[in-house]
Amino acid sequence: MELAYGHPKSLKSIQTKYCPGCGHGVIHRLIAEVIDEMGLQTKSIITNPVGCSIWADLYFDFDSVQPAHGRTPAAATGVKRMLPDHLVICYQGDGDLAAIGTAEIIHAANRGEKFTVIFVNNAIYGMTGGQMAPTTLIGQHATTAPEGRDPINAGMGYPIRVSEMLATLEGTRYLARGAVNNPVNVRKTKQYIRKAFEAQMRGEGFTMVEILSQCPTNWQMKPLESVSWLEQNMITFYQLGEIKNTLSDAPASQAPKA
């Protein structure tokens, strides 16, 4: 009998440290499923960031490299340049990617580094206990924005739409934004990851999948509330879908103009 659904080989079957309802676990599973489907377990390397997903190397059953906070794309650059035939996954949170590591992500993207960034946007600093992130929404509460993010009076700045910003760079070939708040979005997100990984293995340029993800603990919500909060607040600001697709197999309307 054929196994229709089971635990992915590339993910160890152990309990994670993630909180109940956290998006990281779902995202890990999607990555592992795609790697298994592509038969790339022994050729995969993840650069796992400083953030809650620093533990990713405990869960993924393949090689990993853990760099300094925000320097994940620089380290992934070093790895991928040395091992161009491997699948290199640069996993980052919003603090790692859009605050301390802003320079590294922009320049890795601009150089067209041929790895895939999985950008987990939970609009908060998870690991350090709920501080404001660059992606925190206006009015959203954080320990460092106790009255809610106030861009004008408190000078807290505005939430950054990273994918749209990176789309202006010519080195980027595929940028998509998914979410893991419901089964439909989970399935679409998996397709984006698959497209990005396939493009990477073909040696096309920079690919990134931004994933809107729940952090019930630091949003101070129950898991169920957090999925609807994401639907109502995050998806309305961070538009889902393929933000940029100039891959060789892109539909004609999105292909690069000659």
Binding site: D61, S64, P67, A75, G78, E104
Partner: protein, 355 residues
């Protein structure tokens, strides 16, 4: 066939030596006085099909080194003092993950932006770890273009042997001047063995998956890791202490100086000897491990020491530690990018000898 002697700038000789050592990846960011090194690597690494990236910052460059080193490749970055300050976080991570790498510092004067002239003001940040946490890096201090090439070449194998980063601490003078140099034999990186700790090629290596990381939240485990590293440091101290001695045997006062200030001190030594003054030169080549034991031996013989530095006095602290009160330790230094002249160093030693 006679060995070919090439006339090269220090910066370029360092680059060529790294290439010949089988360096597969170089990452740099422009800063004077090491720019010729980055430019040399751009010309020659890309032409050889190896990796050269002009990074967006020194921070990015050292972390690219971290990624490349995690795959087991020979990787290098270079900079000058302010850029080295920026690399310290990355160097700490390399140490925490036990990754080999080569970092070249063609030092300039500080603090802050300071100046672009040669200085030895980076002795502290080089020999005391430099970043956060308990660690050391091997520090090699060349005094000539030839030695800069030789030490850079050797830095790669030393760093792999002990799995610690190696710093080559030159200064603006060594980087900028031209001298004759005989270059070492080229190593083809493809012939270097794959590393058991590295990521990539898991299947071909027939191993379990590798995780390159410096994190450990269990105090006992992290302590054990640090203790293991410090045992390696003890081995390095035993095996690697290097220095050069010139006319030390009968000397009353011994200059202690490295790199450029050792060249100047050698000139002052010759002036002193011409006048019958018993002056010697002790030149540490490894600044870490520092040759404490040999200096202690010389102190026990009653010799006095004059530490000559292009700083306000940094290495002199190690000389005092070595001498441990058994003899006199004096200091003469210039800073701000000034190189002391042999005349002024001679005048100082003559004054100390009462001549």
């Amino acid at each position: 066939m006679a060995e070919e002697i090439r006339l090269m700038k220090g910066n370029e000789a360092i680059g060529e030596a790294a290439i010949r050592a089988g360096c597969r990846a170089y990452f740099g960011y422009p800063i004077t006085p090491q720019n010729e090194l980055t430019a040399y690597m751009a010309r020659h690494m890309i032409a050889k099909g190896r990796t050269f990236i002009q990074a967006e910052s020194e921070v990015a460059a050292i972390n690219m080194v971290y990624g490349a080193a995690a795959t087991g490749a020979r990787a290098m970055t270079s900079s000058s003092s302010p850029g080295i300050s920026l690399k310290q976080e990355g160097i700490s991570y390399l140490c925490g993950a036990d990754l080999p790498a080569v970092v070249v510092n063609v030092a300039r004067s500080g603090p802050g932006l300071g100046g672009i002239s040669p200085s030895q003001g980076d002795y502290f940040q080089s020999t005391r770890g430099g970043g956060h946490g308990d660690y050391y890096t091997i520090v090699l201090a060349p005094k000539s273009v030839q030695e800069a090439a030789d030490l850079t070449y050797e830095a790669f194998s030393l760093s792999e042997k002990y799995r610690v980063p190696v710093l080559v601490l030159a200064d603006g003078l060594i980087g900028q001047m031209m001298e004759g140099v005989v270059l070492p034999e080229p190593i083809d990186p493809a012939t270097l063995p794959r590393k058991p700790y590295a990521v990539g090629h898991a299947q071909e290596m027939g191993r379990d998956y590798n995780h390159v990381s410096s994190i450990n939240l269990v105090p006992d485990e992290l302590e054990a890791k640090n203790r293991e590293r410090f045992q390696r440091y003890e081995v390095i101290k035993k095996e690697l202490c290097r220095y050069e001695e010139i006319e030390v045997e009968d000397a009353d006062i011994v200059f202690v100086a490295y790199g450029t200030s050792a060249r100047v001190s050698h000139g002052a030594l010759m002036m002193a000897r011409e006048r019958g003054l018993k002056v010697g030169l002790f030149r540490p080549i490894t600044l870490w491990p520092f040759p404490y034991a040999r200096i202690a031996e010389l102190a026990a013989q009653g010799k006095r020491f004059l530490s000559v530095e292009m700083s306000m006095g940094q290495m002199v602290e190690d000389v005092r530690l070595a001498v441990n009160g058994k003899s006199e330790v004096y200091f003469y230094g210039r800073c701000g990018g000034n190189i002391p002249s042999q005349e002024e160093v001679f005048a100082e030693v003559a004054r100390l000898l009462g001549k």
